[in-house]
Each structure stands twice: as C-alpha cells, then as structure tokens.
C-alpha cells in the first residue's frame, strides 16, 4: 500500500462526465414526473367517478381509485411503454409500473405477447429473475422454449442453458406447464424447482424436489472476536460464494474445501459440488488422475440422465489426459452401453477414439 495516497480516493478520477451527470438528473426527473403524472390521472379519474356517483346516487361504485395505477397495460417504471427488452453485454434490471422487477441475464431478451389490466404474457430467451408484485390484478405467464411459467405474485428464476431449463421458486407459487413436464403441468411452491431437459427426448423431466433456496447471506469475516463468539455454520449460499471467490482468486485449496463441505453437509448439492470439484482438479490444477476418480464417483451417484452423461464425458476426458487411453475407451464403452443415442457421443468419441 506504500504507493497509494491516504485516502485512496486521491489516486482516483471522477468516473462520470458532466454530460453523464446531467443525463442522470434528467432520468431522475423524468421518472418522478411520470409517477406524478400517473397519480394525477388517478386523482382526476377518481374525481369524475365521485361526481358520477354523486349525480346518480342509486348506482354502486364501479371504480377503485387506489387501483388506478394498476389499470391498463403494464408500463416501465418511468411511464414509458413496455416493448421488447434486451440485455446486451451485461445483465439488465427493468422496473415496471406495478412495482414488479425483471432482471435479464446478459444476452437474454423478453418479448411481451399480451399485456392488459388482467394479464401479462411474455416470451423469454435466455435467463432471467422475476419479482412479480404480490396481490396484483394481473396473471403473469412467461414462456421459455416450450415451457410456460404462470404466476400470481411471486419471485422465481428461469435459468436456461444448452441442456436444460430450470425454474426455481424463491417465494410464492407458480405453475409450470409444457410437453416436457411430467403430467403436463406442475405446481411449485417456495423453495421448489424443476429442471427440464432440452435433449432429444421431449418429455424428460430431470428432477422435481423441494430444496431450500435461501437468500444469499452475509458471511462474517474472521475477526479477533470470532474466537469468543459462537461460530455459525456457513450457509449453502455462503459456501458457494466462498468456493467461487476462492477459485477466482486461484486459492484452489479453499475452493475445494468449500465444495467438499457443500457435498458433505447439503445432500442436494452433492452432485453439483462434486462436478465442480472435478472441474477444478482437471481444468485448474491438472490433477487428471484425481479428476478421473471424482468423475467416476459422480457417475456412480445415480444422477439424472443429463448430468450422468456430462459426468461420463469428463471421466473419459480426464483418463485420456492422464495418458490412459485404454481406460478412457473402457469408460467410453460404458457410456455408449448406457446411452446408445446419447447427446454427448461425439465428445466421448473425441476423447476415446
């Protein structure tokens, strides 16, 4: 730290230009004016409704001014129209006029297909986090590939990659339906998730089980007082965070310790943590023999099909890299016996020709 001034900020420049500062102010002003405009409209509508009822005293109230903000199509929080959304380059958070919030992962897109006072439907490409305002007037329906997630006030995540779509409910209730869902539809409550394979078999449902999806917690740093205070066991999320950060910082021992703890303490995480362990041993530490043992253990766990196929490929790869082509071919043969039409046939053949 000897090269740096105190405070450290003396060595830093202002991050935003005058133009950017001005633009931010205009956005703040526009958002506040848009909300004030919606409120004024609601007040005016209430005044007309009151006058109507006062003039026609026998008729009942038909309008609820407190809900005026919710009527009509969903808009952006600043009052702008809600069209197709895209997150280019980095994740994007979009706030809506009813207080709901959508976070699109980098490269994801959301296209509304229906939007009025009673429903909001959209098609998602990529992945996103949805926080739908509870007790709102609209039913939400988000489609992803041939899967549809229907919600009524909840928080859920749709994560899509090349192999599967996974819907996880953080709070509330959702209904997931699609040709690939066992029984055609499934109701999920807080903490539950469903993963649907995008492989050749159209109705392969990987797993559906209750699993705690905890909010990420703060993990207290070790301090001199920690010896006196009773030590809390780290949460699942904290262990994942620790493993990820340690791997980024090249502290592979810490990363593997965190993953081993995850696998030991959280049975639902055992497969994923083991896979990650194998990745570190092979890709970061180049301990191919050790990686092969880990992936063999993974395949023996009795996992859903897609994960087993991935485990087999990595097992074959680690054996090949360990200069044991005979063993690699033996495992490749095991894979082909179990998955004669497997989607990873090409990869296995590449590592064990």
């Amino acid at each position: 730290m000897s090269e740096l001034p105190e405070p450290l900020g003396e060595a830093l420049r202002d991050p935003f230009s005058e133009h950017e500062i001005g633009a931010m102010w205009r956005t703040v002003r526009a958002r506040r004016e848009a909300r004030a405009g919606v409120s004024r409209r609601a007040t005016l509508e209430f005044a007309f409704a009151t006058a109507f009822v006062a003039a026609a005293a026998l008729f009942a109230w038909t309008r609820r001014p407190t809900r005026a903000l919710d009527e009509g199509p969903l808009r952006l929080a600043d009052g702008g129209p809600l069209g197709a959304l895209e997150a280019v380059g980095s994740a994007r958070i979009v706030r809506l006029s009813d207080g709901s919030e959508i976070t699109l992962a980098a490269g994801a897109g959301l296209s509304p297909t229906a939007n009025d006072g009673r429903r909001f439907e959209a098609a998602l490409t990529g992945s996103g986090v949805f926080e739908v305002r509870p007790h709102g007037p609209r039913r939400w329906r988000v489609g992803c590939d041939d899967l549809a997630v229907e919600v009524l006030g909840t928080g859920f995540v749709i994560a899509q990659n090349a192999h599967e779509i996974r819907v996880t409910v953080r709070h509330g209730v959702v209904r997931v339906e699609g040709a690939r869902v066992a029984g055609g539809a499934r109701r999920l409550t807080a903490g539950e998730w469903i993963a649907v394979s995008l492989g050749a078999a159209p109705d392969t449902t990987l797993a559906t089980r209750a699993e705690p999806v905890a909010e990420a917690h703060e993990e207290p740093e070790a301090t001199p007082d920690a010896r006196r205070a009773p030590r809390r066991e780290p949460t699942e999320d904290a262990l994942w965070e620790r493993a990820n950060q340690a791997r980024i910082a090249h502290r592979y021992d810490d990363a593997t310790r965190a993953l081993e703890t995850l696998a030991r303490r959280f049975p639902a995480q055992r497969a994923t943590a083991t896979y990650k362990l194998g990745q570190i041993e092979m890709d970061d530490l180049h301990h191919y023999a050790r990686a092969a043992t880990i992936f063999e253990r993974l395949v023996a766990m009795g996992l859903p099909a897609a994960l087993r196929e991935d485990g087999y490929v990595r097992w074959v790869q680690s054996l090949a890299r360990n200069n044991d082509p005979a063993a690699a071919r033996r495992v490749a043969a095991l894979y082909l016996r179990e998955f004669p039409a497997g989607r990873r046939r090409g990869d296995v053949a590449r590592w064990a020709p």
Binding site: E6, R13, S90, A91, T103, V129, A159
Partner: protein, 222 residues
Amino acid sequence: MSRWARLAAHGVIDGPVVTAHVEVGAQVSAQGAAGSGVCEEPDDATLVARAVRGDGRAEEAIYKRYVRYVAAIAIHLTGSRQEAEDIVQDTFEKALDQLSSLRDGAALRPWLAQITLRQVHRRARRRRLMRLFGLDGSAQDATLDTLASPSASPEVRAELSRVQSVIALANDDARAAWTLHKVEGETLEYTSEVCRCSLATTKRRVAAVESLLRARLRKEER
C-alpha cells in the same frame, strides 16, 4: 477531515476548479473559473427545507451538490459503471421522494450515503442470486485500477489492481466500511453512522479488510 470535506471547504471538485455561485431564489449553477474562492451558498438544511416545500431548483441543487459523492460510493463498491449509474438514479429518486422524512436537514450527506449503501447491498444480493443460478452479472468495468487518475504511475495502478482483487473477497459490510473510510476518507465515526453499526463493529470490519490486504502483501513478498 474527509477528502470530500476538504474539497468542499475549498470549493474544489476533482478536476477543474468549479465555483458554485448562488443568489437568493436563483437556480444553483456552476461556472468554470480558474482559482476562484468559495461563494456563499445555502447550507443543506436550507436546501432540504426548500425542496420539501416543492422548490424544484432546490432539489436540483441537492443533486448537483452530492451526485459525485453518491456516484463515487456506488462505483467504488460495485466496480460497474452501469450499476453505479442505476444506483445514483435510484438513490436520488428515493431521497427526493422521502426528503420530508429527514428530520435534520443538516444530516443530508450521511442520509444520502445510507440510501446509496442500501441500493448497493440490494444489487449485490441480486448479483449473488444470479451467480448462484449461473446467470451472468454486470460487467466489472470500473474497478479501482481502471479508475486511476490519468497521472497515476504504473506502480500505483498495479497496487490499485491488487487492492481491488483483495477487497472483492471481503463481505459486503466490510467492503462498505473499508471503502467509506479508506477510499472516500470518511472518519470512523461518520462511517459507523452511515453503516448503521457501532464504532467497534466498523473498526472490526475495516481491520478485517486491512488484514486481507496485509496477508496478500506477505504472500507476494515470499
């Protein structure tokens, strides 16, 4: 005295010298001036009182007075220009909406810092959630080394890069306390007020990050 207090006392903002010139009832405007001194301007309590009464110019004056302060906290804690921009907008939108709840207008600065920290923590939780599900997070395009002053030497940039990699490992609370105290130059007492924790806790959090930095230095020296 914090860095911001020093700059405010001399009417200097980072970069070109700026003078804020105010007449009663007039809009606050900035004029470039070389070597100018400080002109009289309304204090925070006066601006807050005017803004609460609906004075749009007072609201804008509050923004202009503190936008760089809020932006610095946001960008130094998130490392992302886009996130920092969003946080600045969210912070001022909320602050101006809730200004009437600020009982002591003179406490505007720490109050704004508290709102900023809440926004930063909220987004950090969102980022962790997205990482947990394998979704991409925001680009880290504004780390300390990329924000180095143009005149910074390569050695300073290298140290900033090392500091950045270490503080990224600290938890949100420790990183916030350390950034306010060591980067923004705030006192420990001010930092504990903004972070809403005891002075002892603030000292522990700052010490925790300092300990990480020393450990990294020792590792590199081996």
